[in-house]
Subunit: 260 residues, 2 copies
């Protein structure tokens, strides 16, 4: 008996949602720490055949066996296709199935109440990215839009700087930020650029509406392409003639502004 | 005609206050940037005789001549006694006269209205120290107590991470933090430890009183010695089971809590 077209479509969407939720991390320490965390659903462990079987690798394999996680062995080239970072993967990668990890367009399709998101526009420093995730998670931001173009991507430094919060935060992937922001704007969301030159302040923004805060590059600020999609421009009032804040600090002040 | 004892005492105190206000920075780039900033009063430039006369050194000497700043030449040993960091001074040090830079005891003696200070207890990461200074300055904190024991000291990394705000912030030096906090407590100031285990929240603290917020080590938190002097223990409410924030983010949330 063949499945109906509706059933096949349903199964296809389910499968796609699952693969969209996969985050591949790499590096021995990040992978070991993820395997040691029972709350993290690991999908598949990838190891280079050339790995020296030292203590760390033995422990990683042992944990995978205990947790019945599939292990795939690859030559260095095969592994680097998976980690996408041959220089830093140390012969180890792990696919995590994170229910909160997905695509920005999927979030937009299913959002059913006012949300507050951060959107990262050219955040290139991995420590800043990790700190932004940590602060946004603690402050209760609903998700972070992370474009694959122009931003640091999830790597061991980011995981370390996020202090475990990476796996709790809803990360929304997209390719280019500007078209994604435009789609959100089309649904009526407020798109707010943070800029020290803005006239209005963050505190003047009332709550209760779908809102995206766009955080620009550490030096150049919000890009022209992203700025064109913005409906608001906001600044954080600063004293003593200070001109800018660290971007992770800005993210924290946005995330915690309702609860201080 | 000899000065009266009162006059000699007055001159001695004035001289001591001046020397207490000196901050010696080092490294070619930080010194060059300080010399290029006309708002910074430089007292004396120190150079190693062994310096190769490259572009940077020539520019530094030229700026010192233009600004009529005394230049002293030293052998490497003499210079390292001044910079207190032979490995990083690159043969260049500069004494800055910062009116806002002084001793915690002097601040306590002359404080005449409610103030809010941060006190750093075992902050060892220079980037965190720089970010704390930057956020506190922008948020309007009245000063930062920086003990010489157990904390990172002002070095090129700190200056860089502070993005110029180091020279605007009132830095209050002391040797050991705990006895200094005890002296402030004796005058009635509230000493508040930030701790994720505290019952009360930062938001519950009312304003208008002299208050010191004690920020503990990035991993271990507030030390036992400092904790004993604390009159309050406060936490910042966090969501999603996050257990701690980056210390510079905590400093920012404290500094900006009245203006968001």
């Amino acid at each position: 008996m063949k499945d109906s077209p509706q059933e096949r479509r349903r199964q296809y969407l389910k499968k796609r949602a699952f693969y969209d939720s996969l985050l591949t991390i790499y590096g021995r320490k990040p992978v070991l720490e993820a395997l040691e965390d029972p709350t993290l659903a690991a999908h598949k462990l990838h190891l280079a055949e050339s790995n020296r079987r030292d203590q760390l690798i033995t422990r990683i394999e042992q944990l995978a066996h205990e947790r019945r996680i599939e292990i795939a062995y690859w030559d260095r080239k095969g592994l680097s296709r998976i980690s996408k970072n041959a220089r830093q993967d140390q012969g180890v990668a792990l696919d995590l199935a994170l229910p909160h990890y997905g695509k920005a367009e999927e979030f937009l399709r299913t959002a059913d109440k006012p949300y507050e998101l951060l959107a990262l526009d050219g955040i290139t420093n991995p420590q800043n990215l990790g700190m932004i995730i940590r602060s946004a998670c603690a402050g209760g931001i609903d998700g972070i839009i992370l474009p694959s173009k122009g931003c640091a991507q999830i790597d061991p430094l980011v995981i370390k700087a996020s202090v475990g919060t990476l796996f709790k935060m809803r990360l929304l992937r997209c390719d280019d930020l500007a078209p994604t922001l435009a789609e959100f704007a089309n649904t009526g969301a407020r798109i707010c650029a943070l800029s020290s030159h803005a006239k209005d302040t963050l505190g003047e923004l009332n709550g209760g509406e779908a809102t995206i805060f766009v955080l620009g590059n550490e030096t150049r600020g919000v890009s022209d392409a992203a700025a064109k999609t913005c409906t608001h421009s906001l600044r954080i009032p600063m004293r003593n003639g200070v001109e800018s804040l660290n971007v992770a600090v800005t993210a924290a002040l946005i995330s915690f502004r309702h609860q201080l």
